[in-house]
Symmetry: none
Subunit: 207 residues, 4 copies
DNA sequence: CATGAATGAGGGTTCATTCAT
DNA sequence: GATGAATGAACCCTCATTCAT
């Protein structure tokens, strides 16, 4: 008599994705072998085929899962002031980078790094684009609010904010957190925001 | 009668590194297997062991080779005006990204993306750091020249210029060149430079 | 329709060990490659990894298996009279040596001879020691029975009996059975036993 | 101008054999690869082919070399009293076993252990036989001298003395020197000798 | 829904051997 | 007589995948 009840199909699938994400964070896409993932889940690897037709499909679903979580983060950082919202998004990213036990930012770049033969980059780029579009929407909202200068190109701003996050991630990935510090990262973000924010909300630039 | 003459040790080593770099550019670090590299060179894979004691040593030598080439690029972009020098470095990088047949920028990021189990990230980060230091030196030169505001933090500026390059590279890697265009990349660079450059040389910011 | 039914885990494991033992007997430890063993079993070599985590673990399990069998032989030779028991053990060994189709004695020495880089000698020595201890126990039993002189050093006797077996094995291994005959082997054993046995049971020494 | 003169063919050959013997002692027959041997000699491995047509021929020559050295040891232990001579031979062997830096006894057994596919055992057995014959000759000399009982079978005695040495060697090989001590080894030898020696020269047996 | 057994392709590495120089 | 470059076969090991149960 098993006290631990059989998981439903959906629950199992979610569990697998969570474990897979952790595995990618710790061992990279390459290290996310079926054996490793299944071991984390506590099942045998052929059982994974009951949920995903192939490893690649699992990884694609994982990208979905990952971007869902990131988008939740972006949504959670919402503030009525668009500039503050962007700042919140940037800080959320920076905070995650500093917390390597988190399984969200690091796997993000692990996917960027996923070898070309995994055929994942295209899919990944498309999601990334959607993320940037979301940021651009925030910029546009700021322009409607009047907190962001109307002349600014929303996409350009969005990409730059996004790029700040990338820089953080890459630096962390390469063990350069001691040099590209959270402080410098924040200063770069403020710089970008400050140069387009109107009024008193914009911190002065000091480089 | 073989028309292809026997290569000398140094020639062969150089050839292997060139081929390996192309292979990394096309198939990633993971795809740079001994079989693939040897096939590109036109020899059998055990022959590689006559030149490198192991695959990892080959990859480490490749990182050396790669950074040598990048540093040459940076040096080649030299201009007496430090701001112009930084701009040249940024543009050189952007130009390379647009020319995917070049085997220099893409492999760069392939290494960033190299799976953790390859154990290359540490080594790579150290080289990266040296590169940033080089950029910071240019900034300091600009400060001595008076073309860069004295108040600026050279390391901060250096990292930001470097980060511009990263953004270009990653975007290209993910097939987003259509969105993160050369124009936007240039604008971001000008932004960074403009905000620290003194005098008329600094383009006005318009985002 | 496969007529050969799928084997259970335990059956397969046992079969692999049996085949491996034969392989060691015929081709030595070095010749006991995964390919060779798997071929004998009738499977492909990666399948072996489902049963043993590595070749070395397989070989260690094989040593277990081998000593189990030898200890069974020693136990099977039991006689109440300790001297007779020792004689039985010695004769059992000699008999095996003469029957090369047996896969027990020969592999024994193959392990002794296993190249140092296999790292098996230590483990093997420990088992060997246990075997000698078992013989020493028989000697002590004889001393309690009064069939073996009390003054004798049990360990010394045990080692000497064991050494008789070694001599047989090595001679067989080197194809010298024509010179170190079963008769001479028996005479050496009697010599050892005779010199410590009390009473009429001890055959006269004639060399 | 090389101050170290070119070695003559014979000198080089001897040097190679000496180095090869050390290599076998330290790393076994399997570890005696052409690369390892050549490295010890200070030349490159293809150069070995100038002296031996193949690795196997080198190993066969090495067996010659090894037995020559052992026979020298036996000769050096010569004493007019045959029993003393045999005792000297046994002690010489035991002494060597205790001195692992010596490259004579250990390689001996490394060859016994040489995997069957090396095809060396036959050759090795023949040499071994010659060695035993030499011991038997000493026994016969003792019988003529009257120091060994006439009734003894010279071959039997010779094999037993030889077997004592084997036991020492194997025990050392398996790291059991702590249990099969030099003292026990000596006692076993005295036992054998004592049981065939006549007169006062024979130590009393005490087991 | 899950498992256990097995596979085939591929990975890095080592080694005896050949041959032009 | 010796070298440097290269080869081909073999080794151990890993992994995604299949399939009967």
């Amino acid at each position: 008599m098993q006290t631990r009840r059989r998981l439903s199909r959906e629950e199992r699938r979610g569990q697998i994705l969570r474990v897979a994400l952790e595995t990618v964070a710790k061992q990279g896409v390459r290290g996310a072998t079926l054996t490793n993932i299944a071991a984390g889940v506590g099942i045998t690897y052929p059982a994974l085929y009951a949920h995903f037709p192939s490893r690649k499909d699992l990884l694609l679903a994982l990208i979905d899962h990952l971007f869902d979580r990131i988008q939740q983060l972006h949504a959670a950082a919402y503030q009525e002031d668009a500039v503050a919202h962007l700042r919140g998004i940037g800080r959320a990213n920076a905070a995650l980078v500093g917390a390597p036990e988190d399984d969200c930012v690091l796997p993000f770049f692990e996917f960027v790094a996923a070898e070309p033969d995994e055929d994942l980059r295209g899919e990944f780029g498309a999601r990334q684009l959607a993320l940037v579009e979301g940021l651009a929407d925030v910029v546009r909202r700021g322009q409607r609010q009047g907190t962001i200068v109307a002349i600014a190109d929303p996409e350009q701003i969005a990409w730059m904010v996004h790029g700040c996050g990338w820089t953080d991630d890459i630096a962390a990935l390469m063990g350069l957190s001691g040099h590209w510090t959270a402080e410098r990262s924040a200063r770069m973000l403020e710089w970008v925001l400050g140069s387009v924010a109107t009024g008193a909300g914009a911190p002065a630039q000091e480089a």
